[in-house]
């Protein structure tokens, strides 16, 4: 944390101190407003949903269109969809960014074309992705309403985030790393895997966090691809309702579904914590096995 070098005692002049207070104040205010809004939102969710959280809720079957019973199958479907998404998006996204950063001339036509393609992908509306996923993955590729279709559609949505954040991370690396590796006689692949990637990992993790968030929050695209089914999924070719779709259905379609919707939303937020925690632990572990830690 950089703040340890910038304790108030280094700000000598009066003007600098006022400036410090102003910026700190503005920052604190911004944080306060944001966290305040989030707390307000959480408060309503907790008030309505917490009474419904229980072990049975987390593991049980769905009954009465979701107004009773639990969301066990839905949690499993969501995790499988997320798994499909991340397993294809991370190699694609990080791989693409690495190629752009290390193997292509900056500003060349190829680089511009690929970055342009990825940026354009980012501007496709989520509902359009739903239509695309339905036409391409479900119908054209014949995957039908399935967890796999949903996961692959999510990959398209999450890809630009991963590419952009990985590129930023690679660009921000200290400039002497690459010449130093060259001086040591390391091959490009070794330099990439042993030095650059571990150094860029914190930035890449931010991308993964944002990607996970995006994937779990997405509703419209999943409604048309992984579908509405509430059975325990047996394979990724089965249709499975994602938790965001379930929340949508309960909130907008089922009368008196509001409380279960809030409870499911709380479960989703817990899932975000859990997935991000696991991702961070994995990343730390991987770093420790490299020469740099």
């Amino acid at each position: 944390m950089a703040s340890s070098f910038l304790t108030p005692s280094t700000t000598k002049t009066r003007r600098a101190q006022i400036g410090d207070w102003l910026i700190g104040g503005a920052g604190a205010l911004a944080s306060f407003v944001t966290l305040g809004a989030l707390t307000w939102l959480l408060f309503d969710l907790i008030r309505l949903g917490l009474p419904h959280l229980s072990f049975e809720f987390l593991t049980g079957d769905m009954k009465s269109a979701g107004r009773e019973g639990g969301i066990g199958p839905i949690i499993i479907s969501t995790l499988l969809i997320l798994g499909c998404c991340l397993l294809s998006a991370i190699p694609l996204g990080v791989g693409c960014a690495l190629w752009l950063s290390e193997y292509v001339q900056r500003g060349s036509r190829v680089a511009r074309a690929i970055t342009g393609g990825v940026d354009l992908l980012a501007s496709v509306p989520s509902i359009v992705f739903g239509l695309f996923g339905m036409t391409f993955f479900c119908q054209f590729l014949g995957l039908g309403f399935s967890i796999l279709s949903g996961g692959l559609t999510l990959t398209c949505m999450v890809l630009p985030i991963l590419v952009r954040t990985t590129l930023s991370a690679m660009n921000a690396l200290p400039p002497d790393l690459r010449p130093a590796a060259g001086a040591l006689g390391l091959t490009k692949a070794t330099m990439l895997g042993q030095i650059l990637l571990p150094a860029a990992l914190p930035g890449i993790m931010i991308g993964i966090t944002l990607g996970v968030g995006r994937a779990l929050a997405e509703t419209a695209a999943l409604l048309f691809t992984s579908g509405y089914a509430t059975r325990w999924p047996e394979t990724i070719h089965d249709s499975g309702r994602a938790i965001s779709v379930h929340i949508y259905d309960l909130a907008m379609n089922i009368p008196n579904g509001g409380e279960k919707a809030s409870a499911s939303a709380l479960v989703l937020l817990l899932m975000i914590f859990a997935v991000n925690l696991v991702a961070t632990l994995l990343a730390d572990r991987w770093l420790k096995t490299r020469s740099l830690s």
């Binding site: 309503d44 791989g95 190629w99 354009l120 980012a122 695309f132």
Partner: protein, 289 residues
């Protein structure tokens, strides 16, 4: 020999991945074109820009004006970005330079949480909390302002987290040098850290803008869905995504094709803008390397 083989493999594998990643959008656009083809073929496209209203289902006077909705999409995106960017950047500055470690940790968790908040939850909260509050000042409450506020909340974590990452990537040596020179914290932030983090922050804002213009559920619930060019922040609007979401499930074949065409136009217009912005700012072109 073995190591060079691996190099070759890695280079080409990464290349394939990159081409797939960049080419996906072509598949998407092709798919959209397929769906939009009947509308394009029937010559209705001109109506998108000449008709004043959007009334495709009217028997008496069908109109297919897209311009108010395109305006709606852009206005709500820009408004949300104008709210979210200062809040996100200032919050990240606070997190990185001022906050004690415990608070910083919780701040990070909060941003992660907000990043994953489903659109329907945000939309519902907006409809039950934000809209009545705005309606007290000026009805109907469901308006450009309501949609922009909640959309800003939704994209804020993108800006905050990428700014944080960018600030963390500013070399410690620079910050130490500044401290050594007696430049205060404020000066270091304004004159050294933020400028050096500029590209990362720019990338984050771009991602946030793209997310905002493509967002569907939040705007549907909060914008009022009246296709018009708003006279004030309190007027309802209808972004293009809202129309697609509202009408797609109930549209006849020709209507559906119109919606595909509307989506395609939105993607192309946004893509052109993003491409232009990218080109101007040259985000990938670093002085380093």
């Amino acid at each position: 020999m073995c190591r060079l083989r691996i190099d070759w493999l890695v280079r080409h594998l990464l290349g394939v991945l990159a081409v797939v990643a960049g080419g996906l959008v072509v598949v998407v656009i092709f798919s959209l074109l397929q769906g939009a083809w009947p509308a394009i073929n029937s010559g209705l496209l001109g109506h998108f820009f000449s008709d004043p209203n959007w009334q495709p289902g009217s028997v008496r006077d069908p109109q297919y004006g897209l311009v108010p909705m395109l305006a709606g999409s852009f206005l709500v995106t820009v408004a949300a970005a104008l709210i979210a960017t200062p809040l996100g950047v200032a919050g990240a500055v606070f997190h990185h330079f001022y906050a004690p470690r415990q608070i910083a940790k919780w701040n990070l968790r909060a941003m992660e949480l907000l990043a994953g908040m489903p659109a329907v939850v945000l939309g519902f909260w907006g409809l039950t909390v934000v809209v009545p509050a705005i309606a007290r000042i000026e009805p109907p409450g469901q308006s450009l302002l309501a949609a922009a506020l909640v959309l800003a909340l939704m994209i804020l974590p993108i800006i905050a987290l990428t700014t944080q990452a960018a600030l963390a990537a500013v070399p410690l040596s620079q910050v130490q040098a500044a401290a050594g020179l007696g430049i205060g914290r404020a000066g270091t932030i304004l004159k050294i850290a933020l400028p050096m983090a500029r590209r990362g922050i720019g990338a984050g804002v771009l991602l946030a803008l793209a997310r905002a213009i493509g967002e569907t559920l939040v705007v549907v619930m909060l914008c009022g869905n009246i296709a018009q060019i708003p006279g004030s922040l309190f007027d309802p609007i209808r972004p293009v995504t809202s129309t697609i979401a509202l009408e797609m499930g109930y549209a006849t074949a020709s209507h559906k094709s119109l919606l595909y065409a509307a989506g395609l136009i939105l993607v192309l217009v946004v893509g052109l803008l993003v491409g232009w912005l990218s080109f101007r700012k040259n985000l990938d072109h670093d002085a380093v390397n």
